[in-house]
Amino acid sequence: MSFNWRWDFTWDILPRLLAATLNTLIAAGAGYAIALVLGLILALAQRTGWRGLTVAVREFVEFIRSTPLVLQIFFVFYVGPQFGIRLSPWTSGMIAIGLHYSAYLSEVYRAGIEAVPKGQWEACRAINMSTRDTYLRIIIPQALPPSIAGMGNYLVGIFKDTPMLSVIGVAELMHTANAIGSESYRFLEPYTLVGVIFLAISLPTAGLIRLFEGWVRRKLGL
């Protein structure tokens, strides 16, 4: 059994891994920002009342949700050049991960909007509110609090899926750990540290999201 944890080696590689953690956080943040906006568009596109559009968007969301993210990342990265569009690993990674999670977030938004009681819509209509005001002032403020738990889950989810970006060479945490492993032939420390770093970020984040949800509920007087 060749199990021996080397602390000196651990301290050597820790700064490199922490620097890569920053990249991971940037990737998760940027991907999430794309997903938040795109998800809203996908959710609203299903509510326009045009049947064709609703069905097409629904199928698209189902397709994205039931195929592997890692395959989508490869698809975006390699299919571009075939048609003369070259995307950097970062750009294609952000597109793929943002698109993937926008499909999930659109479902969260949709559930949130559908959970608003019908009477609220009718009341808006009765006082002759515009569609824009109905959404912005009545529906979305009520749809938001029940959506926060789901949105938070996917924030943690996107963070945990960023290691897949390493397959196209985005220099995030997993990619750096692989590089360290192949330089030094030591896998125990880098891979274990990556696991510890992930735990150290995702567990507190999940807790913070719960606190945030309570705070929003109080703020909106629900």
Binding site: S66, F74, F75, F83
Partner: protein, 221 residues
């Protein structure tokens, strides 16, 4: 090259990849179901050791990435003297990962069985084991089947990662064909469609049938 020519040349390899993906899916699903039941029940146990073990397992596997777990099990476990072949390491990692999410579903479902059912079983002086097996679990399964459908699709998607430790699954074959032909749209596109078909036309209908069968057994349909 037209798509038909492409399929004539590479169809067999994609089919063998699909077979490996299906095998990984079934084996990982079995592990996930067993582990989810054990950890989900364990988290509700009176014994602090069992409860603690379950919580640690669930939090570790839910708090880190599947890819990290896969690499850890494949590259680091051998240092502890446990060497798994890549095929086994693949479905074990995916199964353990999904099992940790499943454990929370099991726990939630058991806790949402109405209190009267627990009391009625107690009033009939059923033993705790019999109460769980005959009264609580069947109803809990009815409650948790719909979210398990989603989880199994996540599991199918998770199996694509085993290609990164060179298990020759569908994803791996698509990558290999792409590397030798540069026909990325065809290779990855067809693989995407196959995953979609597996999820949409096999897993989802199967789970719907399970849900209906379970509803009949519970006398709700």
């Amino acid at each position: 090259m037209s798509i038909w020519e492409y399929m004539q040349i590479y169809g067999a390899r994609l089919a063998s990849g699909t077979a490996i993906t299906c095998a990984q899916f079934v084996l990982a699903a079995l592990i996930a179901i067993v582990v989810a039941l054990l950890a989900g029940l364990g988290k509700l146990s009176q014994n602090w050791l069992i409860r603690g073990t379950s919580v640690v397992y669930i939090e570790i596997f839910r708090g880190t990435s599947l890819l990290v777990q896969l690499y850890w099990i494949f590259f680091v476990l051998p240092l502890f003297g446990i060497t798994l072949p890549k095929f086994v390491a693949g479905f074990v990692s995916v199964g353990l990962n999904v099992g940790s999410y499943g454990a929370e579903l099991v726990r939630g479902a058991i806790q949402s069985v109405p209190k009267g059912q627990w009391e009625a079983a107690y009033a009939l002086s059923m033993s705790p084991a019999k109460r769980m097996r005959r009264i609580i679990l069947p109803q809990a399964i009815g409650i948790m089947l719909p979210p398990w459908g989603n989880l199994l699709i996540e599991l199918l998607k998770g199996t694509a990662l085993v290609s990164l430790i060179s298990v020759a699954d569908l994803m791996f074959q698509a990558k290999q064909i792409n590397a030798s032909t540069f026909l990325s749209a065809q290779s990855f596109g067809i693989a995407l469609v196959i995953y979609y078909i597996l999820a949409r036309f096999f897993i989802t209908p199967f789970m719907r049938r399970m849900e209906r069968a379970m509803a009949r057994r519970l006398g709700k349909a």
